[in-house]
């Protein structure tokens, strides 16, 4: 703690402050995103997803050239 106080009283190194500030913002952005991504999907969307019907088991897309037999 003493070290931190001393640092705060010293003349700030602007470049270092900027770098640290940008790092803090990068972390905050990732935390913001991670928090959103972990939220459960709303019920109406889950229901909609469940209703999406796919082509039958012979489900290779037409003309994709991605047949694996």
């Amino acid at each position: 703690m003493n070290a931190i106080r001393k640092k705060a009283n010293a003349a700030p190194d602007v470049a270092a402050l900027d770098r640290k500030a940008l790092e803090a913002i990068g972390r905050a952005l990732k935390a913001h995103h991670a928090d959103l991504v972990q939220a459960p999907l709303p019920e109406k969307l889950v229901e909609l997803l469940a209703r999406l019907k796919v082509g039958d088991s012979a489900s290779e897309p037409q003309g994709s050239g991605d047949a694996n037999g």
Binding site: L17, A24, I25, R27, H33, L36, L41, L45, S59
Partner: protein, 176 residues
């Protein structure tokens, strides 16, 4: 008809797409409508998706176009994301540097949409400058300058000294 594989990959992108939608619109209810409409649009246009390219980028493009053409005018009226986010999460860095997530969100929503989206695309969703440029229909130089302006603005709003010094929540939390 879309394939089972397309469906699986689409399902895997839903939460990411929703995170982008919430951040872009600032509203959970608008975001959910946006995601739903994007999903239906992606589903009925699945043959237009080129396998091997980024499904995430493709979905973001669809959602973003919908937002700017149909939803943007409502966005400022319904800022209802409060109560959706986890409360008072702290983003910890090294010992001296903590940033309260709620404080970050408050300033994040003050940025213009074009800056929020670039932050989300590159800083949060891990897309490349090239992908972001394609999604936003601008050049890479524009993406870089928007990103730089967005970061500078966040630093300015949050306070450079606070970001690199003492915990910001100590400064902002109101004495009651």
């Amino acid at each position: 008809m879309p394939t089972a594989r397309f469906r699986e990959e689409l399902l895997g992108e839903m939460k990411n797409l929703r995170a982008f939608a919430v951040s872009l619109s600032g509203s959970v209810s608008l975001a959910d409508d946006l995601v739903q409409e994007s999903l239906l649009r992606a589903w009925s246009n699945s043959e237009k998706f080129e396998p091997g390219t980024s499904l995430r980028a493709w979905l973001f493009t669809i959602l973003r176009n919908l937002y700017y053409s149909n939803y943007r005018k409502h966005a400022r009226e319904v800022q209802d994301s409060d109560g959706f986010y986890s409360r008072r999460l702290t983003v910890s860095g090294d010992q001296e540097s903590h940033l309260d997530l709620e404080d970050f969100r408050r300033v994040f929503t003050m940025l213009p949409a074009e800056q929020r989206e670039v932050l989300m695309l590159i800083g949060a969703s891990g897309l490349s400058y090239e992908e972001a440029a394609t999604i936003c229909e601008v050049g890479i130089g524009t993406i870089k300058s928007r990103l730089s302006r967005a970061r500078s603005k966040l630093v300015e709003l949050l306070g450079r000294n606070d970001l690199s010094g003492r915990p910001i929540e100590q400064k902002i939390r109101r004495a009651s």
